[in-house]
């Protein structure tokens, strides 16, 4: 393996993938992004209330660190203002013990989140 083994946190988030899945019901806004070279594909589903994100779900095709990063972000999104899409990706790399090279895949998570927030903002504006 070119990268270091996943941290215990990354391994748990990859295996459990909390908040993963396509949600049912109305009121969800979605956005996605892809990176064709590696095939990484992320889709966010967000619900908002009073200008804040109230719930987040994701679908992801990616390496274990990408799955873990999406799960980590999904747990931290509720309560954030709609439109605040920028993630501290370096901090994610550090917390998950990911190789720096994974940063490129993490940008896909952020790009998809921005798209979903644009959709959500347009819906709640």
């Amino acid at each position: 393996m070119s990268g270091q083994p996943p941290s215990a946190l990354a391994d748990r988030l990859f295996r459990e993938a909390p908040f993963a899945g396509r949600p049912d019901g109305p009121g969800w806004a979605s956005g996605e992004a892809r990176e064709p070279l590696t095939g990484t594909h992320v889709r966010w589903h967000l619900r908002g209330q009073g200008g804040l994100i109230s719930a987040a779900r994701y679908e992801v095709r990616g390496c274990p660190f990408t799955v873990a990063a999406a799960a980590c972000v999904a747990g931290e999104l509720p309560g954030r203002p709609v439109g605040d899409w920028a993630l501290d990706l370096q901090d994610l790399v550090r917390r998950l013990g990911a190789p720096e090279a994974k940063l490129g895949r993490f940008f896909v998570i952020q790009d998809a989140l921005r798209e979903a927030q644009l959709q959500l903002g347009g819906r709640t504006a």
């Binding site: 393996m1 070119s2 990268g3 095939g39 095709r61 990616g62």
Partner: protein, 383 residues
């Protein structure tokens, strides 16, 4: 936790207990340098010559045509660099395939830097190079062609005998890398028309650290040695011979000669079962020709999953992956890329390779683990 199911025999195989016994007997016996003329030396020399005959017998060669090396990588290097330099006065054009092992591609790249011209043929999507395309690549300046009989990633079997016929007609030396072929498919150096054949012991339940190069006796290709310092192995591979390693290789090749046909039939049945168990997943692709292949390798790409994630799902299975994280280069498999697989499919590939210790239960376990892992990852992925 149960030990992981080992399906990576194309990488290396467990030592056969009979080989181990032969090696131990040698190691625990009195020492003797086979180059020495005293009794212990003569006994060691006889053990080496017995092993030489056992290795030669598997490929229908005379024992004197076998040169022991440290493995197939050294054999490839000696064959390619040695033959190219030995024939440099006649021409400096070399032909091979893009899907060769790095033990062939890297020496060719080295020769290219020295001024040799190298043509690397692209295979079709099935991994095969048509003999006509091979023949068309030969020029009056071509002195050496090199082809892997059984591809180490896909298991595809090239029509090396047809290449050999073209080489003979054009006066070109043919080197065949048979590291994955020995003991899995029949090898007859005469039928292949091969001048040089690389062999490995640890791919067929022998020890690592020993291999051999077949060098045709007549006409004998001129080889420039890579090492100097003694007259062993006809001056082509100087250095004190590792007798216990060589005895182990001989035992492994003898067992392969005795049991290879039946074992290959058994492995082919297991491989067919493996593919039949994976195919219903849908979105799976068998890499390489569906029929012109060795019995022990099944290489499969899976749509809709990430290769690294798939490997992480298979904690109870030891297999090789085409994912970039599995390669030293950090790139997806260049062999699958050469077959036209897009990067995501080249990444999301697994090479299952079976061996003597593989059982039907191993295959069923592998099918179950892969199906569960692929299904979970596909559920996570956007539709």
């Amino acid at each position: 936790m149960a030990p992981a199911v080992y399906l990576d025999h194309a990488a290396t195989t467990p030592l056969d207990p009979r080989v181990r016994a032969a090696m131990l007997a040698r190691l625990e016996g009195p020492p003797g340098n086979p180059s020495a003329t005293h009794a212990a030396g003569r006994e060691a020399h006889a053990a080496v010559e017995r092993a030489r005959a056992e290795v030669a017998a598997l490929i229908n060669a005379p024992p004197a045509a076998i040169v022991f090396t440290s493995g197939a990588t050294e054999a490839d290097n000696l064959a390619i660099q040695g033959a190219a330099r030995g024939a440099a006065g006649r021409g400096r054009h070399l032909v091979s395939l893009r899907t060769e092992h790095r033990a062939v591609l890297d020496p060719l790249a080295r020769l290219q830097r020295e001024g040799f011209e190298v043509t690397l043929l692209a295979p079709g999507r099935d991994g095969l190079v048509a003999p006509a395309a091979f023949a068309a690549a030969l020029t009056p300046a071509t002195t050496l062609a090199s082809v892997m009989l059984v591809n180490n990633e896909t298991g595809v079997v090239q029509d090396a005998a047809a290449f050999g016929a073209h080489c003979r007609a054009r006066g070109v030396l043919l080197h065949v890398d048979a590291a994955q072929a020995a003991g899995r498919v029949p090898i007859d150096v005469e039928a292949l028309g091969a001048d040089l054949v690389s062999l490995s012991a640890h791919k067929i339940h022998g020890p690592a650290g020993v291999g051999a190069l077949y060098v045709r006796r007549a006409p004998r290709p001129a080889l420039v040695p890579l090492q100097f310092g003694g007259g062993q192995e006809g001056g082509l591979r100087p250095g004190t011979l590792p007798v216990h390693q060589i005895v182990g290789m001989g035992a492994a090749f003898r067992i392969a000669a005795e049991e290879g046909a039946a074992e290959s039939a058994r492995l082919a049945a297991l491989a067919a079962r493996l593919w039949a168990g994976l195919e219903p997943l849908g979105g799976v692709h068998l890499n390489g020709h569906p029929h012109q292949r060795a019995p022990h390798i099944v290489n499969v790409s899976f749509e809709g999953v990430d290769g690294e994630a798939l490997l992480a799902e298979l904690a109870g299975l030891t297999v090789a992956s085409g994912a970039a994280c599995s390669s030293e280069s950090g790139e997806p498999s260049y062999v699958l890329r050469a077959l036209g697989r897009p990067d995501p499919l080249a990444q999301a590939s697994l090479r299952f390779s079976l061996g003597r210790t593989s059982s039907a239960a191993d295959v069923e376990s592998a099918i179950g683990q892969v199906r569960a892992g692929v299904a979970r990852l596909r559920r996570l992925a956007p539709a």
